[in-house]
């Protein structure tokens, strides 16, 4: 298959969901069956993306396919030189894998939602929204320049807003939508400034062109600090979208949206866009920027995992676990384990989507009950859901033979190597702690939901396995969480095709003095990202990390069984002992409250002060001037009444007189006017 055909196919894949959106949103009210059209379109897009991915990964695995055209040509702009904006798409391995993942999950969610959303008043509109979301997500994935990425970035934000607030009759849903939108804007401002810095320096938006210029030693304002700033500012966009601390607060609230949406957007695809962005800009990150990213990621994953320990809402637990896992990926990018970060992005997309769809299946069966303390024993009623949920849980906990083990282990090894090379040991410590907490809270979730005795007898009796259309995505995703798809050896991810041939850490382009020591190379110009020192450290860290993570995960699982299955340790008493910590976790570290009292109240106080300022000072000035004005008015009023009015009245009288005389001409008859026109023309002719 030729390159141009691949490009055309991917453009088709990009625009198919948009077409679905357009058709369904316009005609959805008239034809209630129109959602089937959207279903067909997304299935077609998925098939095409499989073709593209297979061809790219088999025939063009070491070659990027580029396509670009000039969108706006400003010509020669004073002071800036030649200026034009190119748009284009770039197909590299990252892109086609994401293409596959996004389309697969989008398709599964589409199919799943047919049953899940049945009977909703806005059924067709829901599918239209899913369509525009898929379109914008694919846009982010395919683009080769940061401007288009920003545009699709905002489109994704919009569609996420629409879907979170889909049940906008509920106040909580519409509030959550607004919260997500506004919090994301905070990050996007940073990203926008970062883009502007890059554009001001390089006069181009294209990733490749920018990196080429950086590798030639051209950096913004000739200062490494500015390059660091640009990297961190761009990362701010990822902080918003991937729900990293301190902007993670929107994601748990976003669970107000329909559950399949949570699976698609807030677990598998959109939140991964932030990670994808950081992966895209990875080569231009300086050591300082990477350190910031690693710390933010590590802290986020820790804070979110600690919150997830105590939540009782099934979707909230999963939401915080998503935040935590995203923190993992970000941290992994920060420590330079690029390939593992992307690997984890893919595996996480599958098992987290499976978990969310599984929770949706449970919620569906329990008639919209989301509190896990009121569930229990569902294993017998919903065996397929239970099984797939369990496999995904094993994957997220990092148990061997699952995909999650491979990627998570790689990330932990990366942090360990990073710690040994730079002395930042806190990052691996956070990483391993989180691994244990993840195993604990995930098994707590499984046990409380599926094991034990039912706590709500009435609802339990009505529970039933979900329809086939809802179960098949679960099973498929669970199957994809097994190691065999990624590597033949379940203990060594590096030997798999995914990491050995598809995804490779790109060469960094940052000047030598701005890199980590272990990234510096003896060669001049572009060097490899993994120096020998780094390879060595990775190798050294591989087995300790693997053993340690399995032990910790096992401990977490054991603890969960002790507490909730065998009831050896009472969770309540344990919580009593560490009351402050428990409350901290239960109340989500009071972050929402802190924002409430600082930013929101601060804004309110500022507004109130401004209102007071307006009311007293400005109004005082206005009133004072009003008094003066009134005085003047009185004088000028007298003047007006006698002098001006006299004149005006005379004018009016005169005009009236003239009008009366001319009125006869205005007959309202067209032909009379034409006669006048003729005579006017005659006068003109004679005058000339």
């Amino acid at each position: 298959m030729s390159e141009i055909l691949l490009i055309n196919l991917s453009i088709l894949i990009l625009f198919l969901p948009l077409a679905g959106f357009g058709v369904v949103i316009l005609f959805g009210k008239r034809f209630s069956k129109l959602y089937l059209f959207e279903q067909g379109i997304i299935t077609l897009a998925f098939i095409l993306s499989v073709i593209v991915a297979v061809v790219k990964l088999s025939s063009y695995v070491n070659q990027d396919i580029l396509f670009a055209f000039t969108w706006i040509d400003f010509g020669n702009v004073p002071m800036l030189g030649e200026l034009k904006i190119d748009l284009g798409i770039k197909l590299d391995n990252l892109t086609v894998i994401m293409l596959f993942v996004v389309n697969l999950i989008s398709m599964l969610v589409h199919h799943y939602s047919v049953e899940y959303m049945k009977g909703d008043a806005k059924y067709n509109r829901y599918f239209a929204y899913l369509g525009i979301f898929t379109f914008s997500m694919l846009g982010i994935v395919l683009t080769d320049n940061i401007l288009m990425m920003y545009i699709f970035w905002e489109l994704v934000g919009l569609s996420s807003y629409l879907l979170i607030g889909f049940w906008f009759e509920k106040d909580s849903a519409s509030d959550a939508g607004k919260k997500a939108f506004i919090v994301n804007r905070v990050g996007d401002i940073g990203m926008f400034i970062g883009i502007l810095i890059l554009f001001a320096t390089y006069q181009t938006f294209s990733f490749d062109a920018i990196y080429e210029k950086i590798s030639m030693g051209i950096i913004p304002f000739d200062s490494g600090a500015w390059l660091t700033a640009a990297g961190i500012l761009l990362f701010m966009g990822a902080v918003g979208k991937s729900a990293q601390f301190p902007l993670h607060v929107w994601l748990p609230d976003a669970m107000e949206g329909p559950t399949p949406v949570s699976a698609l957007i807030h677990a598998a695809t959109m939140v991964a866009a932030g990670v994808y962005l950081v992966a895209r800009i990875f080569v231009m990150l300086t050591a300082d920027a990477m350190l910031v990213i690693a710390v933010v990621g590590a802290f986020t994953s820790f804070i979110a995992a600690s919150i997830a320990l105590t939540q009782n809402d099934i979707k909230k637990v999963l939401a915080y676990s998503t935040v935590s896992q995203l923190g993992y990926m970000i941290m992994s990018l920060g420590v330079g384990a690029y390939a593992f970060a992307f690997f984890h992005l893919v595996t996480h997309a599958f098992f987290k989507a499976c978990l969310f769809l599984g929770s949706g299946s449970v919620i569906h069966a329990m008639h919209h009950e989301q509190d896990i303390q009121k569930m229990g024993g569902l294993r017998r009623k919903m065996p397929l859901t239970y099984l797939s949920f369990l496999i995904s849980t094993l994957a997220i906990s990092g148990i061997p033979l699952t995909s999650g083990f491979l990627s998570k282990d790689g990330i932990l090894a990366g942090t360990l190597a990073f710690g040994s090379l730079t002395g930042h040991w806190l990052i691996p410590i956070f990483g391993f702690t989180v691994a244990m907490m993840t195993a604990f809270y995930m098994f707590r979730l499984v046990i409380l939901t599926f094991h034990g005795e039912p706590t709500d007898k009435h609802k339990f009796d009505h529970a039933h396995e979900s329809p086939r259309l809802m179960v098949y995505p679960l099973v498929l995703l669970a199957v994809l969480s097994i190691f065999i798809w990624y590597t033949p050896n379940p203990l060594a991810p590096n030997q798999g095709w995914f990491l050995s041939s598809w995804v490779k850490t790109p060469q960094t382009v940052v000047p030598q003095d701005l890199r980590f020591e272990f990234m510096q190379s003896t060669e001049t110009g572009t060097g490899i990202v993994h120096s020998e020192m780094y390879e060595h450290a990775m190798h050294w860290a591989h087995y300790p990390a693997m053993i340690l993570s399995v032990i910790l995960a096992g401990l977490g699982i054991l603890l969960a069984f002790m507490m909730y299955q065998w009831k050896k340790i009472s969770p309540d008493k344990f919580a009593e002992k560490v009351k402050p910590l428990y409350n901290l976790s239960l109340n989500k570290w009071y972050i929402d409250e802190i924002y409430q009292s600082t930013f929101i109240n601060g804004t309110l106080i500022l507004s109130n002060f401004l209102a007071w300022f307006d009311n007293t000072i400005i109004d005082g000035i206005v009133n004072g001037s009003a008094t003066v004005t009134r005085l003047f008015s009185r004088i000028s009023g007298w003047f007006d009444n006698y002098v001006v009015d006299g004149f005006v009245n005379f004018t009016a009288f005169f005009s009236g007189f003239i009008g009366l005389s001319f009125r006869r001409i205005q007959t309202g008859k067209v032909q009379t006017y034409i006669v006048f026109v003729i005579f006017s023309v005659l006068i003109l002719i004679i005058l000339l």
């Binding site: 205005q666 007959t667 309202g668 008859k669 067209v670 032909q671 034409i674 006669v675 003729i678």
Partner: protein, 103 residues
């Protein structure tokens, strides 16, 4: 009599133009006004074609005449539709009595 040349055609066109204007101004019936307009357009057309023949413009004049004929067709269709509407509203088409905008 002098040999027929450009001036002859122009004089005919001027005469037709004047008839057209006379028609537009004096007729009460809207359809008659339209006929006057057609006369005016034809007069202009004669001018175009005549200049195309005697001037140094190639066929551009004729093309312009062609376009005018097309426009006249469109104009006639629209105008008659309007006349029909006037008839529906006022039950007559005497445009001297249609001066509602005056008030």
């Amino acid at each position: 009599m002098i040999e027929v040349g450009l001036t002859h055609f122009l004089v005919i066109s001027a005469a037709l133009f004047s008839f057209g204007i006379y028609g537009v101004v004096t007729r009460k019936n809207a359809v008659m006004v339209l006929m006057g307009v057609e006369l005016i357009l034809n007069a202009a057309n004669i001018n175009f074609v005549a200049f195309a023949r005697y001037g140094n413009f190639g066929l551009n004049g004729q093309i312009m005449a062609l376009f005018i004929i097309i426009l006249a067709a469109a104009e006639a269709a629209i105008a008659l539709a309007i006349v029909l509407n006037i008839y529906k509203t006022f039950a007559h088409v005497n445009i001297d009595e249609i001066d509602n905008l005056k008030e």
